[in-house]
């Protein structure tokens, strides 16, 4: 009876042990994973390896150059070799993680009949007009015509000519090494028309380490899908000046053609406003010698901030704004001049601020005051104003004057104020800049996500990242095969997608739950559950050890 009771008790004890072990097993095998799974932050997979691969991306910028030889440009036996293709590749040295290589792919061929005819005409302009019609050149490509050494198409002292479109003319020669020498000249001209180091350095200014030139290089606006241009007339003294400007006409006549030419680089919108009682932040100094007022160069930075609060943010879009201010100084402070470093008045009476815009001071003709009572009616001479603003606009878009090779004739600008190859150069620079921006954005996003483990990565964020990576790769490929237009579009897409992923608000949802607070919430649940399990596990462990030792002793 006692034995039976003891056996039953033993059975009970074993069952109790098993139950405790089962509890522990359920808690560990089922409870912990369940808890882990349900409280886990959702992180979609991202192409981390591809993103880190982007940093080592090699950009090959291919510029297709068609070189057309006229009949007497090179020796006859050289002409026999045509057509063939030469590639000239060169690495652009920049202190940047991306390697950028520039490739000029020169396709040599003989001139067609109509080209011969055009190039034998009297002047370059005529020739251009005739060459222009039949063909439409792709963005980024160039055509160089090699003419005979004694052709009268160019002035005798000039060796080459850069046209307003995508064409150039180079003088040929009768020499054994003709192809080599001409080839070098062609590369010089082609570089001036497409890619130079300083253009790329300016485009990558934000990503390069600071140097002494960086301030100058950071003048152009950052690349964006669109830009807003605002012309503001500041009239701080409406009691004395009744200022009128024909901004509608001026925009239609001067600004719009320029922007139409630039339209490949982004969307533009133009508007204007008149602001009354908008003062400059600085009091101008009086110069008794000329009885005029002047603004020092070191005062100019302080001019902008107080004015800016009145300009108003652009409500309707998120594009960067370029401000052009025409300031008519108040009667008490006129005439007002801007002085440069040496104290001489600036001829245009204007200055610009990088990535912000330009300000021009427009003085009212002092004769006007004598004629009539206040307020004086002022009609602004828009030709004078727009000359300055358009020049500033070119600078702010980073359309710098090209480095013309020696003995080269540069054609005058087209009527829009922008040469076609200048637009191409802008697109090259903007594509590279976009790629650099997108790469940086993706890299920092990947770093951030790696560092902070409780950021949620939703599927749409992940898909934007994938899209951005694909767009960067596509853009790089298109650049390498010389399709500038599609490369630029792809680079814009890359920037848009990468920024959309980076600034997605869903990334922030769970960021503000630090670990210690989480455990403070869990402890009232975990503690009463864990203590009995742990205690019984300890007890079972001790008993098992005892029962192992016992048989040893009996032995």
């Amino acid at each position: 009876m006692a034995a039976a009771g003891a056996a039953a008790t033993d059975l009970e004890v074993v069952r109790g042990k098993r139950a405790a072990l089962f509890f522990a097993a359920v808690a560990i095998l089922l409870g912990l994973p369940l808890w882990w799974k349900t409280t886990e932050t959702y992180r979609a997979s991202l192409p981390y390896s591809q993103i880190s691969g982007l940093n080592a991306l090699q950009l090959r910028l291919m510029v297709p150059v068609t070189v057309v030889f006229t009949r007497e440009s090179v020796p006859l036996d050289d002409q026999e070799k045509l057509p063939f293709t030469v590639v000239h590749e060169r690495e652009i040295p920049l202190k940047y993680k991306m390697k950028i290589k520039c490739r000029f792919q020169k396709a040599y061929r003989r001139a067609l009949d109509y080209e011969e005819e055009a190039l034998s005409s009297g002047s370059v302009q005529e020739a251009e007009a005739m060459l222009d019609e039949p063909q439409e050149q792709a963005e980024g490509s160039l055509t160089v015509y090699v003419i005979s050494e004694h052709s009268s198409l160019l002035p005798q002292d000039r060796m080459s000519y850069i046209g307003p479109k995508r064409t150039a003319v180079v003088r040929g020669m009768m020499h054994r090494e003709a192809f080599n020498i001409i080839g070098r000249r062609i590369v010089q001209v082609a570089q001036a028309m497409s890619l130079t180091e300083d253009v790329l350095a300016a485009a990558l200014a934000d990503h390069l380490p600071e140097d002494k030139w960086s301030a100058e290089k950071r003048r152009p606006l950052k690349s964006s899908l669109g830009y807003e241009i605002t012309f503001s007339l500041l009239n701080p003294d409406p009691k004395s000046h009744d200022v009128h400007w024909d901004i509608e006409g001026a925009v239609r006549r001067y600004v719009q053609p320029f922007l139409n030419a630039l339209s490949a680089a982004g969307n533009f919108s133009v508007d204007s406003q008149i602001l009354y009682y908008a003062m400059l932040g600085v009091n101008p100094r009086f110069d008794s010698a000329s009885s005029s007022y002047y603004l020092d160069m070191h005062n100019l930075p302080h001019v902008i901030n107080p004015v800016e609060s009145r300009l108003g943010s652009s409500a309707a879009s998120l594009y960067p704004v370029l401000n052009f201010l025409l300031y008519v100084p108040e009667l008490a402070h006129s005439p007002l001049y801007i002085q440069d470093k040496d104290g001489a008045p600036v001829a245009t009476n204007a200055f610009h601020s990088p990535r912000w815009g330009g300000i021009m001071v427009y003085n009212v003709d002092s004769k006007a005051y004598n004629a009539s009572a206040l307020p004086v009616r002022v009609e602004v001479d828009m030709v004078r104003v727009m000359e300055v603003f358009l020049a500033q606009l070119r600078l702010l878009f980073g359309i710098a004057q090209p480095q013309v090779p020696p003995k080269c004739l540069l054609s005058g600008p087209k009527s829009e104020g922008l040469m076609t190859w200048e637009l191409d150069r802008l697109l090259w620079a903007r594509s590279v800049e976009n790629l650099a921006t997108a790469t940086t954005t993706l890299t920092s996003l990947a770093q951030l996500l790696g560092k902070i483990s409780n950021i949620v990565i939703k599927d749409d964020v992940a898909s934007e990242v994938y899209r951005a990576v694909a767009a960067i790769q596509k853009s790089a490929e298109e650049l390498a095969s010389g399709h500038l237009a599609s490369a630029f579009v792809a680079s814009q897409e890359a920037v848009t997608s990468s920024e959309r992923a980076f600034f997605d608000p869903s990334l922030l949802h769970l960021l503000y739950f630090p670990d210690d607070q989480k455990f403070a919430i869990y402890i009232p649940l975990f503690l009463p559950m864990a203590v009995p399990i742990l205690l019984s596990l300890v007890k079972i462990f001790l008993e098992t050890r005892k029962s192992w030792k016992k048989p040893e002793k009996t032995d």
Binding site: A19, R253, Y254, D271, P301, A347, E387, L525, S536
Partner: protein, 511 residues
């Protein structure tokens, strides 16, 4: 960081002189107006209206040259295809019972209602974007407008301006009652004015005074109106209105008199040169209560009579564009004084400061015979800081009793007695003559129940959770893991053991 770069001008070939079109007549105009109304309660209401009218079709593409009309709002109209926009920010509540009917009332907080053009396809999306943009322009939390607080009224809120059809599908209405209106909302509103706050009536808009008022409401109304009498084309009208009610007791030390300087701490110095009309109207209607008469200074040049909101009113007009008005004294400070027969009332009120000093209200009043006088004071219940609650906060908080001191006319004329000689009980309060006596009465203290937070809530939650888990889980766990067996009753006391010993010796099985 402006790098001043002298420009090397390159020649732009096309910049030939274009034909200058002769200056066309101005297509926009500005009218500004301030109406000052002394309210029946003794407070003073000031209502500013700035009306910018622009003879332009804003919806047409490409029109983007702004003069008087603010660019920020103009861009909104064209980008979101608005037909009408009404936005108001209000602090306080217009008390019609004391102040009479308002010109334009607005609910407390922020109110936005918008009619979109019927070309808008996704009204809800435009509405969302618009409220976000407005939130940026006016520094307000309008971005909290979403589908949970947006409605589309079908009967009310008809368009105020020109409208061909009224399909309510294009109307959206939202109110944010929690929105606190402050200086940061006023500054962008002022920036929309052509003369900013530098000239004209807008000089008076000084934030620290405007928000020191019982009621502050600023609004923006945009609507299309007829350009001419035959209504052949439309113009856009922007009305910026601002109404404030000044508490007369705070600004005027208990008097109903006011002046521009006392209310706004500014005076009018020059008209806005851009305004085609700039006027101040002062309500000088004689209500004929208590034989009061009023006097405005400087005397107005003209007056204007009309029936406004159902009552005939007279206004004194000051036209700022009339050079004589400002030039005489270089500034204009309109003053209004009430003249009334002298009365022997006295009111002294000292407002409380939180945690520093209590309210004090003293009134000297002469009560007519057989009358009941009721003095009531409104108060608001507020939450204290959590450390300021007494250990028994639900008991309530005491407000000290009010005191009534009175000289009561005596029924019987007492003969003057020597103060030193008379009994002590009759000479506590000195009385000058025997025709009345002095009484001081106290009312009961008031016990006010303030709202009390539930201090123990987090503790309760944790305790409850722990208890539930511990009880359920713990007992369940014990039930399953412990072994239970019936305890053999232990060998009993000493007697039983002895008995067993004897039984063993005897060879009998033990008990």
């Amino acid at each position: 960081m402006a790098a001043a770069t002298p420009l090397a001008l390159f020649v732009l070939l096309l910049l030939g002189p274009g034909g200058w079109c002769l200056a066309d007549p101005q297509r926009d105009s500005l009218r500004e107006e301030l109406v000052i109304t002394p309210l029946p309660s003794g407070d003073v209401a000031a209502t500013f209206q700035f009306r910018t009218r622009w003879d332009s079709e804003l919806q047409r593409e490409g029109v983007s040259h702004y003069r008087l009309f603010p660019k920020a709002l103009g861009q909104l109209i064209s980008k979101y295809s608005l037909r009408e926009l009404h936005l108001s920010f209000t602090q306080g509540f217009w008390r019609t019972r004391y102040w009479g009917p308002p010109f334009l009332q607005a609910p407390s907080g922020a109110e936005l209602w918008v009619w979109f053009q019927d070309t808008v396809t996704d009204v809800d999306k435009s509405w969302k974007e618009l409220s976000n943009v407005l939130s940026g322009i006016f520094c307000a939390s309008l971005n909290f407008i979403d589908s949970t607080n947006t409605v589309t009224p079908t009967a009310s809120f008809k368009p105020l301006g020109l409208a061909n059809d009224t399909d309510h599908y294009f109307l959206r209405y939202a109110v944010l009652p929690r929105e606190v209106v402050c200086t940061e909302n006023l500054t962008p509103w002022k920036k929309l004015l052509p003369c900013s706050s530098k000239a004209g009536l807008s000089v008076l808009l000084k934030a620290d005074r405007l928000f020191h008022t019982s009621y502050h409401s600023q609004a923006v109304h945009i609507r299309p109106v007829c350009r001419n009498a035959r209504c052949t084309s439309i113009s856009w009208e922007l009305r910026q209105t601002l109404s404030v009610v000044f508490d007369a007791f705070i600004t005027g030390q208990g008097k109903k008199d006011w002046s521009l300087f006392r209310m706004f701490s500014r005076t009018l110095t020059e008209p806005c040169p851009l305004a085609s009309e700039s006027r101040v109207y002062v309500d000088i209607t004689n209500y004929n209560q208590d034989n009061e008469t009023l006097e405005v200074n400087p005397p107005p040049t003209t007056t204007y009579q009309d029936v406004i909101l159902g009552t005939r009113k007279t206004y004194a007009i000051y036209d700022l564009l009339d050079t004589a008005i400002i030039n005489n004294s270089r500034n204009l400070n309109i003053q209004l004084k009430w003249k009334r027969p002298p009365e022997n009332g006295y009111i002294h009120y000292q407002p409380a400061q939180d945690r520093l000093q209590p309210h004090l209200l003293e009134m000297l009043i002469q009560l007519p015979a057989n009358s009941v006088t009721k003095v009531s004071i409104q108060f608001e219940r507020a939450l204290l800081k959590w450390t300021e609650y007494t250990p028994d906060p639900n008991h309530g908080f005491y407000i000290s009793p009010s005191v009534l001191s009175a000289l009561v006319p005596s029924m019987v004329a007492a003969k003057p007695v020597d103060w030193e000689e008379s009994p002590l009980f009759s000479s506590l309060f000195p009385v000058s003559d025997g025709s009345n006596y002095f009484v001081r009465l106290y009312t009961e203290p008031l016990l006010v129940n303030l709202p009390t937070p539930d201090f123990s809530m987090p503790y309760n939650v944790i305790c409850l959770t722990c208890t539930v888990v511990a009880v359920c889980y713990g007992s369940f766990y014990n039930l399953l893991t412990r072994t239970f067996h019936i305890e053999e009753p232990r060998t009993g006391g000493l007697a039983k053991r002895l008995a067993n010993l004897i039984r063993r010796i005897r060879g009998v099985p033990p008990l």
